[in-house]
């Protein structure tokens, strides 16, 4: 039997066929022919790289071991396709409009083009992807070994065959995955080849299934009987595991780098999703149709202990149907190769774009040679990355020894890659999601995945058994498979529950607590509102008439001169002679960008849209505008409050300064006046004393007269000093009141006799004694001082021929009010407000008053809790003194 040789020949032939198909498809795409290459059917078939060797072989094995649980792996993607196609449409739209090259690029782009995030996702993808590649290599090796057992030539050596398979796949991926550096990152050849492989693997599995049902079991009826008789047929559902794995496969379907590659990056028409929404679930249904029959028959026919993962191969072989077995082998081979090729391509894009290129660029910084042929460097980086990733897969396979440990790798990888889900979905639907949130959520999920699933699954060598059983440092609540003491659940369910829930919580909380950068906000809006933003600008077309409107609007936003400069430059660029450019799509995009610098992206878009009329303004646009305006308003509100505060402070300062200046001027004036009042009497005293000293022939009369002058001036000086002292004591508030009880009449009697004593100027005083009976409780001497002052003022200044002072008292609202009104010409209105100021003499006071009397009166009345004021509109000078009644004071 030369089965192995034939097999190798068939394999090589198949690979050559794939090369041919890929090459032809690429040529056709370049030539612009072959629209069918981009049909929805090809797209749907390319999606089926979801079904790897793990599903091709493993589903039967899984069914043989765990019954119907394998269905969950198909159920997840089916649910996504049927019930979440609108979410996928958004993902595809975002991917296309942002020209993303990988899932790492998408996440990074959403969160303000953060390379840190891209590196995180890349690491996660490589960590999850490498064992997955190893799993595919293992499946090929195992299937080879089946044929090798039947072959006697001994040509087969396990290790070397895996190496050659890995190398061959790397060459294929490099040849067709990195042929060109299309901006859209689309690879027609690869996708077409994968579609072909999808057909092959479906065909192979269906063929085996039909053979099993009709060739072995003898039809549908007997087959059903045999299924009922076996354990698999029993409906045995572990709800937690079922839900978890269904969810997990759904998440992985969206997040896996290879799925993202075919679904988003390679997509060229959103409409294809509509077909895929029903066609892909149908494909999965067909793939799963014969899984149970094959498993049941396999268990019946094959000897105890044979590997159920290989039933798809071994059942036809055991029936002597080598060609069917070979077809089945090719099907498995197809599943494995297509997965490995696309994964290697997707991962290499991520590694080269987010790890290699940033490092390379940073080493080139300053040398100025970046402008050279970067293209070649990128391609080289991709090629090397593919080789390294394949090498890693091979190395991992070699290390793990190809044992049973690999079997669970598929789900472990799923669990790892699904940690991207919160950041991905949050980024698509929640504008508040931030870079910090994504980074923290991702890190939390990533760490928990490694700690609770990846490390424990790698066996004792990596994580000591003591940690597994008792937790690190003996902390039981940190046991990797029973976090926080929640024990007894399936490790997979445990990991998914903790990692995804904590990941999501961390993502949300950190997003709410952190503040996004402007770029993040912009990208967030573009992602979340992708249906409003992505296609529309390209759709703008307008007439020249609209340019004028655009110009007017732009002037309002940017200002006249900048708007004119911008429009003129654009017109020049278009080669026109006028001031206004044609509203070409390119111009409109630049205009929008220019405007968004001033009013925000959403507003700019809505404004341009309204004028050009390419799209109506949507509710989301208006909301976005309102959002921005609210922020602007809040900002300008803050500015206004600040400026109001500033001007208030400035006013206060100005007022304080004016007050200080005034006080300083008053102080200067006061000092000048005090100086004058002191020096004037001293001048007379000095002059006359010198005269008396130096003049011998003075007469006795002269001597007497001059001595009298000296005496008067000395008295005047004394009075002035007394007044000044009195005033300063009163003003400083250090005066102590000497309270006593009396009546107004007594106080007035005493004041009048004091004021009129020792003077020959006559003054008639008119009083009404009955009204003066009211009791007073106050400092009687101080009040008397005020009265004396007022009476002697009248005496000095009343210019009537027969001066009369009328003193009248009233009780007004609990206050004693005493008016002093003379019959002179009074105080001119302009001076009335001045009379209580210091040195404010009205007219000139030859009698020696220094102008401090009324100032002292005002201070005294303040201390007594009363008031003294000038009473305008009376016949002559009129003053009103008011103070609280005695009983009022007693009541207090």
């Amino acid at each position: 039997m030369a089965t192995l040789n034939v097999l190798i020949l068939v394999c090589l032939g198949y690979v050559v066929l794939l090369f041919g198909v890929a090459f032809a498809a690429d040529r056709m795409a370049v030539a612009g022919r072959g629209k069918w290459l981009r049909s929805p059917l090809i797209y749907t078939l390319s999606l089926s790289i979801y079904c790897t060797a793990w599903t091709f072989y493993g589903a039967v094995g899984n069914a043989a071991r765990s019954g119907l649980e394998f269905v969950t792996i198909y159920l997840g993607p089916t649910l996504v396709m049927i019930s979440w196609w609108w979410g996928l449409r958004k993902l595809v739209r975002v991917g296309r409009s942002q020209r993303v090259t990988s899932i790492a690029d998408l996440i990074s782009s959403r969160y303000g083009k953060s390379n840190t995030l891209a590196i995180c996702v890349t690491i996660l993808a490589v960590l999850g992807g490498t064992p997955y590649i190893a799993l595919q290599l293992q499946s090929i090796t195992l299937s080879f070994s089946i044929f090798a057992e039947a072959d006697s030539s001994g040509l087969y050596r396990e290790g070397s065959s895996v190496f050659w398979v890995a190398a061959g796949l790397a060459v294929f991926a490099i040849l067709f995955g990195t042929r060109n550096l299309d901006v859209n990152e689309r690879h027609h050849g690869v996708v077409t080849a994968i579609a072909l492989e999808s057909v092959v693997k479906l065909f192979a599995l269906l063929a085996v299934g039909i053979f099993v049902v009709w060739g072995i079991a003898g039809g549908v009826g007997p087959m059903m009987d045999r299924i009922d008789a076996s354990e698999i047929g029993q409906w045995n559902v572990d709800a937690g595991r079922w839900t978890t794995i269904t969810f997990l496969s759904a998440a992985a379907f969206v997040c896996l780098p290879r799925m993202f590659q075919v679904m988003v990056v390679e997509n060229d028409d959103e409409g294809h999703l509509r077909t895929a929404a029903w066609a892909f679930p149908l494909y999965l249904l067909l793939m799963s149709l014969f899984v149970v029959p094959i498993a049941v028959i396999g268990l019946d026919l094959m000897p105890e202990g044979s590997n159920p993962d290989l039933f798809v191969l071994t059942v036809p072989l055991s029936q002597g149907n080598e060609w069917l077995a070979m077809l089945s082998f090719i099907g498995g081979f197809s599943s494995a190769t297509s997965m490995v090729i696309v994964t290697a391509m997707a991962l290499s894009t991520m590694v080269s774009n987010h790890v290699v290129m940033p490092i390379w660029l940073s080493t080139q910084e300053g040398s100025g040679s970046v402008s050279g042929d970067v293209r070649n460097i990128v391609l080289m980086a991709r090629r090397v990355s593919i080789a390294v990733i394949m090498g890693l897969g091979y190395f991992y396979f070699h290390l793990s020894g190809g044992g049973a440990a690999l079997a669970s790798i598929g789900l472990v990888a799923f669990a790892g890659i699904s940690q991207i889900l919160p950041a991905l979905v949050g980024g698509l639907f929640w504008r508040g999601a931030t870079r910090t949130g994504a980074l923290i959520g991702l890190s939390v999920g990533f760490f928990l995945w490694i700690y609770t699933l990846l490390l424990p699954g790698m066996g004792g060598g990596v994580m000591p058994a003591s940690v597994l059983e008792n937790g690190p440092f003996g902390w039981g609540w940190l046991r990797p498979q029973a976090l926080f003491g929640i024990d007894g659940i399936d490790p997979m369910v445990h990991t998914i529950m903790w990692s995804l829930s904590l990941n999501t919580i961390a993502f949300c909380v950190a997003s709410l607590l952190s503040f996004p950068s402007p770029l993040e906000r912009l990208q967030g809006a573009q992602f979340v509102n992708v249906f409003d933003h992505s296609v529309a600008p390209q759709g703008w077309t307008g007439s020249v008439g609209q340019s004028e409107d655009l110009m007017i609007m732009t002037q309002r936003i940017l200002g006249t001169i900048p708007a004119q400069v911008f429009f003129q430059a654009e017109a020049l660029k278009q080669g026109g002679r006028g001031r206004l450019p044609e509203p070409t799509p390119g111009f409109l995009v630049r205009l929008e960008r220019e405007l968004s610098g001033s009013v925000g992206a959403a507003t700019a878009h809505a404004m341009v849209g309204q004028i050009v009329g390419g799209s109506s303004v949507s509710v989301e646009d208006l909301l976005a505008v309102a959002d921005e305006s609210a922020q602007l308003l809040e900002y300008s509100g803050q500015m206004e409050a600040k400026s109001a505060e500033l001007s208030r402070t400035a006013r206060q300062l100005r007022e304080a300064n004016e007050k200080l200046t005034q006080i300083s001027m008053q102080k200067d004036a006061f000092l000048g006046q005090v100086s004058h009042e002191l020096r004037t009497p001293m001048t007379s005293i000095r002059a006359f004393s010198e005269i008396m000293r130096d003049t011998e022939e003075l007469s006795a009369e002269e001597k007497t007269r001059y001595a009298a002058i000296i005496h008067d001036e000395a008295l005047r000086l004394t009075r002035l000093l007394d007044d000044l002292l009195d005033l300063s004591v009163l003003e400083s508030g250090q005066v102590s009141l000497n309270l006593g009880d009396s009546t107004l009449r007594t106080v007035l009697d005493r004041a009048i006799s004091t004021a009129l004593a020792g003077t020959d100027r006559k003054l008639e005083i008119r009083r009404s004694l009955t009204s003066e009976r009211m009791p007073l409780q106050t400092d009687l001497d101080r009040l008397g001082q005020v009265f004396i002052n007022l009476i002697s003022n009248a005496q000095k200044y009343c210019d009537a021929p027969d001066p009369i002072l009328t003193i009248s008292a009233h009780d007004v609202g609990g206050q004693v009010v005493i008016d002093f009104i003379d019959n002179g010409s009074g105080i001119p209105p302009e001076a009335q407000s001045m009379v209580f100021e210091k040195f404010a003499r009205v007219g000139f006071d030859k009698a020696g008053g220094a102008g401090l009397g009324l100032a002292i009166c005002r201070e005294i009345m303040q201390r007594l809790g009363g008031e003294i004021s000038y009473l305008p509109g009376q016949a002559g000078a009129a003053f009103r003194v008011s103070l609280p009644l005695a009983h009022k004071q007693a009541a207090q």
């Binding site: 200067d668 000092l671 000048g672 100086s675 004058h676 020096r679 004037t680 001293m682 001048t683 007379s684 005293i685 000095r686 002059a687 006359f688 010198e690 005269i691 130096d694 003049t695 002058i709 008067d712 001036e713 000139f844 030859k846």
Partner: protein, 126 residues
């Protein structure tokens, strides 16, 4: 030859002291106690010397001096200014206004007499 001095001062006691001193020196002493019409009085009296107080009712000595110096033929009239305010700014202002001699009260009698003699001698020489 009679020498006439016009004393413009509102304090009667100071006026009396200066009148006593200068009369004994042979001056004919005229007095005036108001600021408002002081310039007209000076022109009318046409004295050989003016003694001018700063703080006068109606118009300050500074303004009187300034107005006086504006008049034709009054530039050379010796003016002795007396002030009780004693601030250095006053001396500067008086010098700017064209004062001949500036003195602060209280003064010594000999100081005033010397100043009057000096000013008169200067005016007679020129």
């Amino acid at each position: 030859m009679s020498r006439k001095v016009l004393l413009i001062e509102d304090e009667p006691n100071i006026t009396e002291a200066i009148r006593f001193l200068l009369t004994r020196e042979g001056w004919q002493v005229e007095t005036h106690a108001e600021g408002v019409d002081a310039v007209q009085v000076i022109v009318a009296e046409n004295p050989d010397l003016v003694i001018l107080d700063v703080m006068l009712p109606g118009k300050s000595g500074m303004d009187i001096l300034r107005d006086l110096r504006e008049l034709e033929g009054m530039k050379g009239l010796p003016v002795l200014m007396l002030t009780a305010r004693g601030q250095s700014r006053d001396r500067e202002m008086a010098e700017q206004a064209g004062v001949s001699r500036f003195m602060t009260k209280p003064f010594s009698n000999t100081e005033v007499l010397t100043a009057v003699r000096d000013l008169h001698a200067q005016a007679s020489r020129s």
